[in-house]
């Protein structure tokens, strides 16, 4: 086991910030190249006209997941040292619903809004100001919602652990699901394009 490199003290925290900046640059380039700096493209996901969000996101998840799985099987990466956000089921479900509604209303998610700001989108600047306001409200309300925030605690738990399946089998299921989703997305886009074509005539 040699990785995660930082956990094996190959470099210190100061160096990690330079790495953070470099990885951020690559992240920003990928998001911009994907068209995620534009709210109209992101929002079209929810009208089935352009399924880029789903395609990019699931391809990225599958790529990183397969890479990690492979590197752990060959003994390079210790999966147990990779940070897992703890699961608090109910607040995550409620937070996810609020975030989903906010996504369609605002047109961006936090990461994509940064790229949109960097490429000159005024609505993204306003969106980020709104996000700061939302975080501030959350912070001010925190003492009264702290109990809810910490409710439904399940610890750091993975899908394989929760469903009592092997890691490799869940990886396989996610790949299958992604392929199904890609096929559905391609089919849906063609349907919507055909419909749009008919309406024009």
């Amino acid at each position: 086991m040699n990785a995660p490199l930082f956990k094996f003290e190959y470099f210190n925290t100061d160096v990690s910030l330079i790495i953070a900046f470099a990885i951020g640059i690559a992240f920003g380039i990928a998001l911009e190249k994907g068209g995620f700096g534009r709210a109209t493209i992101l929002a079209s996901q929810f009208y089935f006209t352009n399924m880029r969000v789903l395609k990019v996101m699931f391809t990225a998840i599958v790529t990183a997941m397969l890479g990690l799985y492979f590197l752990s099987v060959v003994g390079f990466v210790d999966l147990s040292l990779i940070y897992l956000t703890q699961t608090n089921m109910l607040p995550m479900i409620v937070g996810g619903l609020i975030a989903g509604v906010g996504f369609v209303i605002g047109g961006y998610c936090p990461g994509t809004s940064m790229v949109a700001v960097a490429t000159g989108k005024i609505d993204a600047v306003v969106y980020v100001i709104g996000m700061v306001f939302g975080i501030f409200i959350f912070g001010e309300m925190f003492p009264s919602i702290e109990n809810f925030f910490n409710s439904g605690f399940m610890g750091s738990v993975t899908l394989p652990a929760y469903f009592n399946l092997s890691y490799g089998f869940v990886v396989f299921l996610v790949v299958l699901m992604a392929i199904g989703a890609f096929a559905a997305a391609e089919w849906g886009e063609k349907k919507m394009a055909a419909k749009a074509g008919k309406e024009k005539q």
Partner: protein
């Protein structure tokens, strides 16, 4: 005088058309290729640092530090702010997510410049005014900020990073984001289509 205006207008038009050809936007890349690229960036973060990508965390630190500057008494009573401020031995701004998010701004700008896609404007559908669009942008941003904090992360930290490490809560979050998005899409259709 009239001829001068004509010449100027002509020159300007010519110049603009020239600029237009030069600055033609390049089309966006193939989504599956971008996905592989993004996945490799995420994999690099896991292998090098042992953690995934994030976005909302940097803003949370910024909010917490600002509130702490104005009212330190107030933040010391609040576990949310306290977590982002940390103890006196660390500077909360020397943080992985802050530097990573600065990188996203730089990377997005570089990629946009190369492909001639850096252009001042407002993203919206044809049936909504710019003013309404900006109001929605603020409201949506506010909801995202609030929701992401409640869920301990946003699309980057939870859906993408947590998704790749098969985190149970992250997958629940991701499903709920799509559910919330599709449920609200009908009511927002005038903004986008």
């Amino acid at each position: 005088m009239i001829s001068l205006t004509k010449i100027l207008t002509h020159a300007f038009e010519k110049d603009e058309s020239h600029v237009h050809i030069e600055m033609k936007e390049k089309p966006y890349s193939n989504p599956y290729l971008v996905g592989v690229g993004l996945g490799l960036v995420l994999l690099a973060a896991f292998v090098i640092m042992g953690r995934g990508l994030g976005a909302s965390g940097a803003l949370s630190t910024a909010v917490a530090v600002t509130v702490n500057k104005i009212a330190p008494e107030h933040t010391s009573q609040n576990n949310f702010y306290k977590e982002y401020i940390g103890d006196e031995n660390t500077n909360p701004l020397m943080d992985w997510l802050i530097f990573q998010t600065l990188g996203v701004l730089v990377g997005g700008f570089i990629s946009g410049i190369i492909s001639h896609r850096v252009k001042k404007g407002i993203e919206k559908g044809p049936r909504i005014s710019s003013k309404m669009r900006l109001i929605y942008a603020f409201v949506g941003g506010g909801l995202l900020g609030y929701g992401a904090k409640l869920a301990r992360g946003c699309m980057s930290g939870q859906a993408l990073s947590g998704g790749a490490v098969l985190n149970l809560g992250s997958w629940a979050f991701m499903m709920m984001v799509f559910a919330g998005g599709y449920a609200a899409a009908y009511f927002m259709r005038r903004q986008w289509i």
